[in-house]
Each structure stands twice: as C-alpha cells, then as structure tokens.
C-alpha cells in the first residue's frame, strides 16, 4: 500500500526534552486505531533548528507545520488533519503580531533566510536510515573522490576556501596537505565532536540528524591524507549522538561504505567511536589526542603539530564535525560553488546556535558575511519582551562580547577577530539590557577556571586570581587598581599559557573591558550595577503609591521578609531580604522596584 502522508517529527535533543517521544507514541497509537498506520509514514528527523517551537511536526504532502505539541495534540492531528483533512488551526505557528503561518517551514524568515550546507539533511531525512541519506546524494562524493588522486581531492578542498569550523579557522585543505606530506606507515583521521562551549549545540545536532555526512567526510579526509583508520571523539553527554553514530557506522559497514575495498577499490577505511568524559580541555587537539590514547586529557607542547605527530605518534588530521559535514557537498557541487558564498577570506556557510535573550532560539545556517543584525533580528526574531539589545557573546569562553554599535558587522573569522572576539564553534549568546557585563565576564571565567586542566601555572593560577578579582568587583569590594591587575593578568596568561584554553580564557574579560569599561567603573567607584543584576549591589523596595496590598509578594517571599496587612501598603525588611527577586516577579502592579543598595544606605 502506498504511503500518502509523511509526518516528520523533529527528534533533535531540544524537541526530545520538550516531550517529542510521548507525542510520537500517542501519534502512532492513534494511527493504528484508525488503521492509518499503513498509509501514513512517521519519520523522526534531526534538529530542524527552531528549538523554541518544539516539539515540531511537519505533515506532507501539504507541508503543514505544527508546533509546541503536547501528547493529546497528536490525537487531534490524527482525527482532524489526517482523517478529515482539516488543518488544526490552534497548533499552527503564530507570528509575533498574531498572523498564522501554516507552512512555517517555507514561509518564516527563520527558515527562508538560511542556506543549509552542513545542516542540509537536518529535519529532512531519517538519520537512522542510510537509504534516505543516499537519496540525497549520500556517498556519491565518496565514489567521486575514489576516481581522483588524493592530491586532486586536497586541491579541491583548498580551492573551496573551507576553514575549520571548530573555532580557530585554519584552512582545511592546507591541514590535509601537511598531513599528506608527512611520511609514515600509518596515519589517522579524528573527528572532534567534543563540543563544550556553553550554549552551543551545532555539532550535536549534525551528529544526531545526519551522522552519515560526518562519516563520509572522514572517509574523504582519510583517502586524501592516506589514512585507513578514523576516530570520532564524542562526549558521553551526547548519548543520542553516540547511539545514532553507532547505527550509522554499522549501516555503512553493511553497505560496504566502511571496511575493506570500498566501492571495489583498494581503499579501506574504518571508524571507531571514542567516548570522552566531557572535559572542556579535551576539545583542544593535543589534549584530545592524549584522551583518545587512553591517557589523562592534558595538552602537550606544539610543535610538533598533529599533522606531523598526532595520535599514536603518527600524522593525524583533526577536523571538527561541521567541517567534515561540509566536505561531501564541496566534492559533489564543486569548490567554485562553495567559494561563491561568503566573504573574501571566509567562504561558505556557518551554523550558529542562537541562545540567550532571543525570540527564535535555535540552530541556523547562513552564508559567511551575514551581519549580526540580520542574524539576531531578522532570523532570530529580536529580543523578547520589548527589551533593548545590549551585546552578543560569540565564541563561548574563548570569545568576547560585541556591543550594539557593531551590529552591522558582517560575520566572518577576520571581522570578529578585529572586534576582539572569535568565531569559535558558532555559539551566540544574546544579552539584553538586564544583563550585567561584569557578571557575564565572571561567568565565563568561572567556567574556564573550573575547566582548566591544571598542567600549566598561568592558566591554573591566573584564571583563579582573575576570578577572585571579578568576584570582589561584583560584590562591591573592588578598587580601581583591580582593572589594571585584570589587564596585566590577562595579558600574561594570553602570552604564557600552554594551550588554546588558557590563551583565550581572558578574552571575555578583555572584550568587556574594551566595550563596557564604564560598567566595571560603576561597580567599583559608585558601587552600582547599571543593569541592576549583581545581588550585592541592589535592593528591592516597594513603591507605596503603587502597592495595593494584594499580599502576593508576601506570600511569594521565601524568608518572610515582607510585612503588611491586606489592602495596606507592604514593606520589605532589608535585613531579612535575600534578594531572590520572587516579589519582583509576582507583583502585577509594578510596585516592587530594583534600586541601588547604596541609595538605601544614604537615605
């Protein structure tokens, strides 16, 4: 019997945690009940990118896009949409102005403005079905390269201008060439899937949604450099990615895409999974190699670079997940096609994970050179609750913050470097007016201080000292000399730390000092937090003219710091108050205010 409807359910990590599995099980139950299970095909796909709308379902042939689904909604969709042909209006996407978009996937700017290369199959194919990958030209690139010489393959990748998507942006073709030229009886390909930046989930989504494209990319790299063995280093916190990679590897074996004599040629290649324990430093390539070898994950001195002496002391190419996922498309469509997108020195597209204070949090892929404004406002839908944009943090703990006046900067490796931050792996954390920039710097430094492996002194001790100074400042105990101390420490750590983690750890502090020095000074000189976010420097008070005595705040207060009778003005006892903000959240009359604590003292 022919399949008449296909339902794509997004089974990316975000949708799964939003309840995708129970929606799917109700859906399948209902389909069985109405004997539709033979004509309706349900496919779980990888992340569609619109994570804030999850769980998501797209019903074809019409392409109707249902969002924010609960299990009982699946029942309604079967009874109304599938059985009676009526679209369920209340489950369609509604724009900010209330307009309904039944085919959100084709119509929304969030989807329309994207150019998908690395994420081409996400939300389109079933990641556990190799034939769907083949249907979308999967493994055709592998066949194509096996009819070329390795040098021709490297030349093609060099011509495409592809640069490493993991952060540093080293030209991929060049890396392959160096490894090819290193003489050795054995070489290795490693896929770096140790994604660890807070708020970044590009690589996880690609692994979960299109594992075969990463495998194919690794094999092409292997053929180009002369390797027969590959490792995928993936963190244990990504169980779904590990599961789907495992399925993909065994399917690829079955079809003869992995193993001996691939496509009947002399080329043999195999891939093994290495599960990491989730240490941030293991994303650094030399530490990663140590960990692959079963040793403690600590970086070692470079040079020698992995291209000369990598895993098991053999020449090794290490590429990031997204880099590898781009490779098959470059081979299939050609280097010129890829190089036609992007800016002069950054070609192709980049996947970004939009997070923080942004309406359309999720995964997007756009051509290099797209401006921050387009990314955040046109595609990302802007800042929620009518707040003002303050800054965007790129590059995770190794990156920095970009203020509003640079919103029209085209995003590529070099422009971000000029602004004092880095492209990084593609995490973008958007901040609004309520975010304290000193606290942001402190947050990221806390992260790197915790994740420092401790091998070299500048990173182990230096980040800790910087953190102590920042703690002092946000508590209102800072002095002006602290800013100079921070700058000296930052510069010293940058110059002397052993690996990338330490060398980039001061970036969040340096970039916030560059653009938001006034906020540091306000904390130190005036003992005020301009964003009213640092607990030690603010206080909550109740405006007697606005308070109606509804008692909502008094009931919400966990420490009984609010006194007052019904229908009479309430008051906060500052000595008992722990500044949790519960009263501020629950007051419907805007009577609870955040003020600078210093004003209360002087009054």
């Amino acid at each position: 019997m022919a399949v008449e409807n296909t339902i794509l359910i997004c089974a990316g990590g975000a949708c799964i945690s939003a309840g995708e599995e129970s929606v799917k099980s109700v859906l399948e139950e209902e389909l069985k009940k109405y004997a539709l299970d033979s004509v309706v095909r349900v496919v779980e796909t990888g992340c569609m990118g619109a994570c804030n709308l999850g769980p998501i379902m797209v019903i074809y042939p019409e392409g109707v896009f249902y969002q924010k689904l609960k299990p009982q909604d699946a029942k309604e969709i079967v009874q109304e949409h599938l059985l009676k042909g009526r679209t369920v209006q209340r489950l369609l996407y509604k724009g900010p102005t209330g307009e309904i978009k039944p085919k959100a996937k084709e119509e929304l700017p969030f989807f329309k403005r994207q150019v998908k290369v690395a994420t081409r199959n996400l939300g389109v194919i079933d990641p556990v079905n190799i034939e769907e990958y083949i249907a979308n030209d999967g493994y055709f690139a592998l066949d194509k390269v096996l009819h070329k010489t390795p040098e021709e393959v490297i030349e093609e990748v060099k011509k495409s201008g592809l640069r490493g998507r993991g952060g540093a942006g080293f030209p991929t073709g060049l890396k392959w060439e160096f490894t090819r030229k290193s003489k050795s009886d054995e070489k290795y390909v490693i896929c770096n899937a140790d994604e660890g930046d807070p708020g970044a989930f590009m690589d996880r989504s690609v692994l979960e949604g299109d594992p075969h494209s990463v495998l194919e990319g690794m094999e092409i790299a292997g053929y180009a450099i002369g390797a027969h063995h590959g490792y995928i280093y993936v963190r244990a916190e990504y169980p779904l990615a590990i599961e789907r990679l495992g399925i993909a590897i065994s399917q690829a074996h079955e079809y003869g895409f992995l193993g001996d004599r691939i496509f009947g040629t002399d080329f043999s290649f195999d891939v093994e999974l290495r599960i990491g324990a989730g240490a941030f430093v293991c994303g650094e390539e030399t530490a990663l190699i140590q960990s692959v070898e079963g040793k403690r994950g600590q970086p070692v001195q470079k040079p020698p670079f992995p291209a000369q002496k990598g895993v098991w002391s053999k020449p090794t190419v290490i590429n990031n997940v997204e880099t590898l996922a781009n490779i098959p498309v470059i081979i299939n469509k050609g280097a010129e096609w890829f190089a036609s997108m992007g800016t002069e020195k950054s070609k192709g597209t980049k996947v970004f994970a939009l997070a923080g204070k942004i309406n359309n949090a999720g995964l997007v892929e756009v051509p290099m050179g797209t401006t921050l404004r387009e990314l955040i406002f046109d595609i990302g839908g802007g800042i929620p609750n009518g707040k003002n944009f303050k800054a965007v943090q790129t590059g995770g703990p190794s990156g920095g913050c970009i203020p509003a006046k640079y919103l029209d900067t085209p995003v590529d490796y070099d422009s971000l470097m000029e602004l004092g931050t880095i492209m990084g792996s593609g995490g973008m954390v958007v901040m609004d007016e309520d975010t304290c920039m000193v606290d942001v710097a402190r947050f990221f430094l806390q992260f790197t201080a915790d994740e420092s492996c401790g091998k070299c002194t500048p990173c182990r001790e230096g980040t800790r000292k910087m953190l102590e100074i920042l703690d002092r400042i946000v508590e209102g105990n800072g002095e002006m000399e602290d800013i100079d101390r921070l700058e000296t420490l930052a510069k010293t750590i940058k110059d002397t730390a052993l690996c990338g983690l330490g060398q980039t750890a001061p970036n969040p502090v340096l970039s916030t000092l560059r653009y938001f020095r006034d906020e540091y000074e306000a904390h130190i000189k005036d003992k005020r937090c301009p964003a009213k976010s640092c607990k030690s420097l603010i206080a909550y008070t109740i405006d007697p003219n606005k308070c109606v005595g509804c008692t909502a705040c008094a009931r919400a207060c966990p420490v009984n710091a609010i006194n007052g009778e019904v229908k009479k003005v309430h008051e906060i006892d500052q000595d008992t108050c722990i500044k949790c903000g519960s009263c501020y959240e629950v007051c419907r009359f805007d009577a609870v205010e955040k003020v600078d604590a210093i004003d209360l003292v002087t009054n």
């Binding site: 399949v3 059985l83 042909g85 493994y139 079809y255």
Partner: protein, 124 residues
C-alpha cells in the same frame, strides 16, 4: 549487500527517492476519499486501499490520495472526489473497490468522466 559501483548506488538512490517522494508537494492532482463515520461504515477504507493500490500498480505517483471527513452526501457513500490539475472536481458516489479501480484507469489516466457513478461536478 555491499555496494561496489556507482550504478548500484544510483539504484538505491532512485528507490529511496521514490519512497520519500510523498513529502513533495508537486502533485498533478488529488483524490479525496470521504472518511467520516458514514463513509467508513459504507466501506470507504476498502475504497481507499483500492485507490492507493491501483495507483501504485499503474505506477502513478503524482496523484495524492487524501482522506477527508463527511462531505454531507452520506446516502451515496463511499464518496470520492477527483481533481486533476485546474479542472472542476468530480464527485463520485457509491464507490466500491471495483469502481475505485475504474476511477484510476479511466478518469485519472484517460481523463474520462464516469457519468454512471457521477454525483456532481464542481465544489461541494
């Protein structure tokens, strides 16, 4: 099975593409089967299966078979509405398995309206 050549890979691609083509919106026309309670009790499920089966047998993949609710013609159920391209839809009544196959072979393939089972032309 191990794939040894581009031809074999191409074959799998074509087969898989056929499987997922149901997601494409580019269809030449559609057949709507009334699947309200009235339709189902009159045998619409068999009609639907016969339609889908016959389309597959004739290798027709550009016609969507859609299920809908009761269109208000309960006494002539199972009802089937056929619309090809921009022409006026034709509504057939009392469509059993045999008539369903006729609809595919005559109307869908040759463009002939089956006047003996036609209930109405135009939108309901």
């Amino acid at each position: 099975m191990k794939i040894k050549s581009l031809e074999e890979l191409q074959k799998i691609k074509e087969k898989a593409l056929k499987e997922i083509s149901g997601r494409e919106t580019k269809k030449r026309g559609r057949i709507v089967v009334g699947m309200g309670t009235c339709g189902i009790s009159a045998g619409a499920k068999d009609t639907l299966r016969a339609l889908a089966d016959e389309l597959e047998k004739q290798s027709i993949d550009d016609i969507a078979v859609i299920q809908s609710g009761c269109m208000g013609l309960c006494e002539v159920e199972p009802t089937v509405e056929v619309q090809i391209g921009s022409e006026e839809p034709a509504i057939y009544g009392h469509v059993n398995e045999e008539q369903a196959r006729r609809i595919v072979r005559e109307h869908v393939m040759k463009g002939k309206i089956l006047s003996d089972i036609l209930v109405k032309r135009g939108k309901v």
